[in-house]
């Protein structure tokens, strides 16, 4: 067992005929994930990277049994694409697309939830369980199977950190990139219980960012319900207030959502704090050893 994806995951890539869709369909296949279908309106009947393309997700599901969607559709059409996947009965969608208006995400999130479907993302790297399946765009090179779970709001920073874990000989159980947009389908709070329940995860690495209160919420959840050791890093400690750090909505406003507030909350919840990304592997290794000894 792993988190959200496993050996039974069968992926349909929405927007497979676009450049990113094609590239990452190939990467997912190389990772060992069964990419069973693609969908692009009007391109039904063609093949991309050996994957059959359908005009609609419903056809893809009917013909291939796809049970997870990876969405690369441009932002103005992403809402429609997600609703299509939900209506086709797909319970898990990784939305890679960036710049989706949060008003769209609100309706996507609540519609999916009402229909029992989950979003990872948007604007996220997706999810990967080394040796099992990957849905999304995390580079294949960084992974190694193991027992460290990773949840992160960042994209490339996640790759950096997972790569660091690997270099230190620490394999990963499941690595989940939530995305840093204002509205995400799966938050730390949603993800923590999944890792708590995952027998293949010993230690959790939590990678946060300044802005919002997702890390503070995560700290509350860890304190209440999470029993495994956690090492946390929060990026943006030195970022200037009031400026937007990159595309995501990482804004420090009114003293809320600061690195301090987040680090304090996480520390008080029992997480060990890494001051820099390169400190994470050592701490994770130590926590794993301590846990093994108990």
């Amino acid at each position: 067992m792993s988190v959200l994806v496993d050996a039974g995951t069968k992926v349909v890539v929405q927007g497979i005929t676009g450049h990113q869709g094609t590239v990452h369909a190939r990467q997912m296949k190389l990772f060992g994930t069964p990419v069973v279908a693609g969908s692009t309106p009007g391109k039904g009947g063609s093949t991309v990277e050996g994957v059959p393309v359908f005009d609609s997700v419903a056809e893809a599901v009917e013909r291939t049994g796809a049970n997870a969607a990876c969405i690369f559709v441009p932002a103005p059409f992403a809402r429609d694409a997600y609703i299509e996947s939900v209506d086709a009965g797909i319970p898990l969608a990784v939305i890679v697309t960036e710049h989706i208006p949060f008003h769209d995400m609100l309706s996507m999130y609540h519609y999916g939830r009402a229909r029992g479907a989950r979003i990872i993302g948007p604007n996220c790297p997706g999810i990967a369980s080394p040796g099992k399946a990957k849905v999304g765009i995390i580079p294949n090179v960084v992974f190694h199977p193991g027992r460290v779970g990773v949840i992160s709001r960042s994209g490339t920073l996640t790759y950096e950190i997972v790569s660091g874990l690997k270099e230190h000989g620490l394999g990963q159980s499941t690595c989940l990139g939530l995305g840093g947009d204002p509205v995400v389908g799966t938050s730390f709070v949603d993800a923590l219980p999944l890792f708590e329940a995952d027998p293949e995860t010993d230690v959790l690495v939590l990678v946060g960012e300044i802005g919002g209160t997702a890390e503070e919420d995560a700290a509350a959840e860890i304190r209440r319900h999470f029993t495994k050791p956690v090492v946390a890093y929060v990026a943006g400690r030195s970022a200037p207030p009031g400026k937007r750090m990159g595309h995501a909505g990482a804004i420090i406003a009114r003293g809320k959502g600061t690195a301090e507030s987040k680090l304090n909350a996480l520390r008080e919840a029992g997480a060990e704090i890494a001051r820099f990304p390169y400190e994470i592997p050592e701490i994770a290794a130590r926590l794993q050893k301590e846990r093994a000894r108990r």
């Binding site: 609100l106 994209g155 960012e209």
Partner: protein, 385 residues
């Protein structure tokens, strides 16, 4: 985010039927005097600087006038003031309404709940941060139902209104929700919202439109943000570019990695001057453009930290090499590069061929960049070829 000037916010309010004072935008003291003299704006009136920065009231940028002469001199006093680097070029001239009470009202996003939230306080006209938490009403609004009756009644009750004033507020709340929803706003804020006779009127308007919804709102495409000129150019090219006060230019991809890079840089005594988030791109030309933009900011050194995902290492290396070819001699700077991830080998090879060494360890590479900025060494020939 697209912050709208007060008068633009009020234009949107009017479009949705939210009452505002009947004002005029003026760009000179003469114009202000003329409008008052003609009776277009009745006396007494108020003149408000149209800047996006806060603190207008304290900064003397909101003044009252009881005559055309006063309006002229008030306008004169305000025009040309500067707020956080933003010069006052426009004034909003409005009748000063006889208000009985002031309230606070806003709609924004609650990220934790993933719901819009209505924030209301019977204490308006002051900074909402200074209002005790207990006297602030927070109502999450479900996007599938909109702002429903019982929620509107809670606001009416919190404001202690009844009769026509209550009805006026009830209608305004529905319209404010509609405006927030249809305009793809990040924030609509009315402070103060005033009781004038038995009508509820929006005396101020703060509206922020979400950038990402731009494809639905071409009407906002032209509006300026609080960006510096270079930031503006970057925006047009789809690159996140922020100017700070240090001397090291940082190019990274992804907000998280960019911030982590700044954290490490600060730890080793580096002062970031510009940072530039490439985001996800697969186009060497975009990388070249970003790099040339960085050159314009005249950094003492540039640290490039890329972890390849959507953005592949070879793409970045190609763009970088092309940029190095194009940078004019006057704009050259030392460069420290670190590229990891997808197609790392290919990217590293391309850089090596161009004479740039990728330093794979984050700590080491940051230390090299700090040294390079201090002029100790030019870690690589950078743009100096």
């Amino acid at each position: 985010m697209v912050k709208l000037a007060e008068w633009r916010g009020k234009e949107i309010f009017q479009k949705y039927g939210i009452p505002t004072p009947e004002g005029r935008v003026v760009r000179s003291a003469e114009e202000a005097e003329k409008l008052v003299r003609a009776g277009t704006v009745p006396l007494p009136c108020v003149l408000k600087a149209q800047v996006l920065a806060g603190g207008r009231g304290k900064g003397g940028a909101v003044r009252f006038a009881a005559s055309a002469e006063e309006a002229r001199s008030a306008a004169q006093a305000i025009l040309g003031l500067e707020f956080q680097g933003e010069k006052v070029r426009e004034l909003l001239l409005e009748p000063k309404l006889p208000l009985a009470k002031e309230f606070y009202l806003s709609l924004t996003l609650d990220r934790s709940l993933r719901l819009p939230v209505l924030i209301a306080s019977a204490q308006g006209g002051v900074e909402i941060e200074s209002v005790a938490e207990g006297s602030i009403l927070r109502l999450p609004i479900h996007p599938f139902t909109g702002l429903v009756g019982y929620e509107r009644r809670r606001v009416v009750r919190a404001f202690g209104l009844s009769g026509p004033a209550a009805q006026s507020l009830d209608g305004l709340l529905t319209r404010l929700w509609t405006a927030f929803d249809r305009e793809d706003a990040e924030l609509v804020e009315i402070n103060p919202l005033a009781l004038v006779g038995d009508r509820i009127v929006a005396l101020d308007a703060k509206v922020i439109i979400e950038d990402d919804a731009g494809f639905r709102h071409p009407e906002y495409a032209e509006l300026l943000d609080d960006r510096t000129p270079l930031e503006e150019i970057a925006r047009e090219k789809g690159i996140a570019f922020v100017q700070l006060d240090g001397n090291i230019g940082v190019i990274a991809n992804g907000a998280g990695l960019t911030m982590a890079t700044l954290d490490v840089l600060a730890e080793f005594g580096g002062r970031p001057g510009v940072f530039l988030d490439l985001g996800g791109t697969d186009d060497p030309a975009k990388v070249t453009e970003a790099f040339l933009l960085m050159a314009k900011a005249r950094p003492s050194a540039v640290f490039l930290n890329i972890f390849g995902g959507v953005t592949r290492c070879d793409t970045v290396a190609k763009g970088l090499v092309e940029a190095m070819r194009q940078v004019p001699p006057t704009d050259r700077f030392p460069l420290v590069a670190r590229i990891r991830g997808n197609n790392e080998a290919e990217g590293t090879a391309i850089l090596r061929e161009a004479g740039v060494t990728s330093v794979p360890d984050l700590k080491e590479s940051v230390q090299a960049a700090v040294k390079a900025a201090q002029g100790a060494i030019a870690a690589s020939p950078g743009g100096s070829r």
